[in-house]
Point group: C2
Amino acid sequence: MAAQAMTTDAPARKQAPAPLNGVDTPALFATIDVVKNQPQLGAFQFRATGEWLGGTRSRTTMSEFSGAGGEHSHKAAYTANADHPTVLCGADSAPAPVEYVLHALAACITAGIGNIAAARGIALKSVSSAVEGDIDLRGILGLSPEVRNGFGAVRISFDVKGDAPDEKLQEIVRQACARSAVLDVLTNGIPVSIKT
Amino acid sequence: MAAQAMTTDAPARKQAPAPLNGVDTPALFATIDVVKNQPQLGAFQFRATGEWLGGTRSRTTMSEFSGAGGEHSHKAAYTANADHPTVLCGADSAPAPVEYVLHALAACITAGIGNIAAARGIALKSVSSAVEGDIDLRGILGLSPEVRNGFGAVRISFDVKGDAPDEKLQEIVRQACARSAVLDVLTNGIPVSIKT
């Protein structure tokens, strides 16, 4: 979930552009209209359940969620495994939890780029991204109270190719960032309540 | 990556406890000692590269990272796909980016629980978690400047079974949260720089 089509800096359209970039643009514009007229349908809840597999390994299942006034199931009960690398005493059987944070960020903004380009009638050829996060393990190892547990900094870059000048393609990336759910979560933080 | 063994409230140990819970506890304690003596080895960088697959679909590859004074490769070039659900005009071919945020949180704390229980000599039987995040789509749809793009709130709960009283098991969860990289990222935010 990331940036969507309706942007404050785009001219109002009487009619949605045709499907493009694999995006059903008319359906996207219709969704925006529906939530505009019935804001309560915009309330979504995503869920996941986790299971420890031993050591630092775990599996998460993402199956059900609610929104648009009802309950939904994914086409399949999707799962994702995680583990620590061997250098951090794990079995390296899957990506590390912090790597999934980088994945979520890249995926969210990339989806937004696809949607926004379609809404603006710009055909994309390719979108690639590279993301990196610096982390000082003295935090999670409890070795320094001045070092935080998480990333100290994250950098992400995009290379977008499509039927528009570079400036227009870059503006699509900027708008995708301006409407990205994951970028907002990472930069601004969210309240997390924990029940032990 | 999540909480680790050395906790400020645990008594100092002359000798690491034996391997337990699938955790090589002596190796874990040795790692902590190494970083304690050579703090520069604690500097890690995790990386991911993303590729747009059309529509709201993308694939992320997590392969290389650096830390402990060198470059590392995962046992395999791990990939993860993401997509939007159909109700949000995606193809629902994979979990949504925001669901991976929930996965990362559950996986990080769960790995910490495994490590900390082993460090404290407590055998675990099972760890399960449930996490949910509320999101108002009026944010990413650009329909209300007062609504944020990301989760308004996230809640996570744990059910831990093991050879210790409930109070000790709950204390392990609390310590795992206190040393979780992903929980820190989500609650406190991180600086993200973007290159378009």
